[in-house]
């Protein structure tokens, strides 16, 4: 990491943290399914969520303790989000939305641990999630409305001639959903982590004056925690909004 420090170049490589390392090489029928550091942190995230939730709901007490309160707040928050954004039909998708939120949230937050790996900072992961959501939402839309789902591309009540302009715009905006959804999460997580590393590099480089970037680092770290939670929330709520469109058509 600090290999370049001697020759005056930057002391840390901000991109090193994103490198995928194979921990256990697995090859199934020519497909490389190696257990990597990314996979490890996914497993850790799932284990942490499961451990937390199981412990929180162990007592099932009427008057909740601290852990149970946390779990219930999460439950009520996601349930409220689904109810408000999707409606009562959204109950079916509640377990998915709940898992999605926790998965992204823990992925982001675990990434804040030093020397850990942030699997949400990889475009292929966020894009795959966004694509699955996009395809599922599209399928749900067609199941709910049949060909009538195509009305989504033309606002109700607009003059007919505007279709020439509106339909292509709506189609483009619809198709760009998985891209914007995945890009937002990926870019935010990546940029935050690069920023942290860069400031850390400055701190090393500037000697005693390094306290200035160090102070900035403290602030950015706090900001990154906020971003970690916020981006998980945004990712989930946008999924709810897309679901709403599929079920209710605008």
């Amino acid at each position: 990491m600090a290999q370049g420090a001697q020759d005056g170049s930057f002391p840390v490589d901000p991109l090193h943290q994103f490198e995928i390392q194979r921990l256990v090489t697995v090859n199934v029928g020519g497909l490389d399914l190696s257990f990597t550091n990314s996979a490890l942190w996914m497993v850790i995230a799932v284990a942490a969520i499961t451990g937390f939730m199981m412990m929180a709901t162990r007592g099932r007490s009427l008057v909740p303790g601290r852990l149970q309160s946390c779990a219930e707040i999460l439950y009520e928050m996601i349930a409220g989000m689904v109810r408000q954004n999707v409606g009562s039909e959204g109950r079916v998708y509640f377990p998915f939305i709940f898992s999605l939120f926790l998965f992204v949230l823990f992925g982001n937050l675990l990434g804040m641990i030093p020397i850990s790996f942030t699997f949400t900072s990889h475009l292929v992961v966020t894009f795959f999630m966004a694509m699955v959501i996009f395809l599922a939402v599209t399928v749900i839309g067609f199941i709910c409305h049949g060909a009538g789902y195509l009305r989504l591309f033309f606002p109700h009540g607009a003059p007919l001639w505007t279709a020439v302009i509106l339909v292509p715009i709506e189609i483009i905006s619809y198709l760009s959903r998985p891209i914007s959804l995945s890009m937002r999460l990926f870019a935010n997580m990546m940029a935050g982590h690069i920023l942290l590393k860069v400031f850390a590099g400055f701190t090393l480089l500037m000697g005693i004056a390094g306290v200035v970037p160090l102070a900035a680092l403290v602030g950015i770290t706090a900001l990154e925690f906020l971003v970690a939670v916020l981006q998980a929330y945004i990712f989930t709520i946008l999924t709810c909004v897309y679901l709403h469109d599929a079920i209710h058509l605008h």
């Binding site: 370049g4 930057f10 697995v26 190696s34 996914m42 377990p95 990889h122 990926f186 990546m190």
Partner: protein
């Protein structure tokens, strides 16, 4: 928007920091390590499926049970409180009704008694008044009779006196009837 600026700044910083070395390594691992894509997606599917299974089969039913159970309990408690309140109100109404009935009965009894007393008094007064009136009438009649007798005696005496006086004065004895008529006349005038 501020976020985009930050991202741009970060990317610029990376370009600045890594310089030719970063470029030599081939930039972002997210874009260069394409051989890990399949593995990342595979493990994403595996871990997320596991998470979804655990959440939907274990955690959410439990949490839902707790949350719904509490809501039901609270609703139940509220319902019971409401029922007790209604019961208390009913009792209160019954009490007031009983009180009203008792008051009415007491009034009725009071009125009946008072009427009875009044009737009794009236009857007695009536008897007394009738007796009184009877006695009055009798005594009045007696007085009248006595008076009539007295008046009759007076007229007779006056007639005899008038006859005697006339005899003495003019030595003529007027007929008794004439004398009587004169006396009556005088008495009539007096009256």
């Amino acid at each position: 928007m501020a976020r985009i600026t930050t991202i741009t700044l970060a990317v610029a910083a990376v370009a600045l920091a890594t310089g030719p070395a970063g470029a030599a390594e081939g930039g972002l691992p997210q874009l260069t390590q394409t051989d890990t894509y399949v593995s990342q997606i595979f493990w994403l599917i595996v871990t997320f499926a596991a998470l979804y299974y655990i959440m939907s089969k274990k955690v959410l039913p439990r949490l839902g049970q707790v949350v719904e159970g509490r809501r039901e309990k609270i609703d139940d408690d509220l319902g019971r409180a409401e029922r007790l309140r209604a019961e208390a109100e009913e009792v209160m109404q019954a009490y007031e009704k009983a009180l009203g009935t008792a008051r009415g009965e007491a009034g009725a009894i009071l009125k009946a008694t008072s009427d009875e007393i009044k009737a009794d008094t009236a009857q007695r007064l009536d008897v007394v008044a009738r007796e009184q009136a009877e006695r009055n009438r009798r005594e009045e009649a007696e007085i009248e009779e006595a008076m009539a007798r007295a008046t009759g005696d007076l007229a007779g005496m006056a007639t005899s006196a008038a006859q005697a006086v006339t005899q003495k004065l003019i030595d003529v004895t007027p007929a008794e009837s004439a004398a009587r008529a004169a006396v009556d006349d005088v008495m009539e005038g007096r009256r």
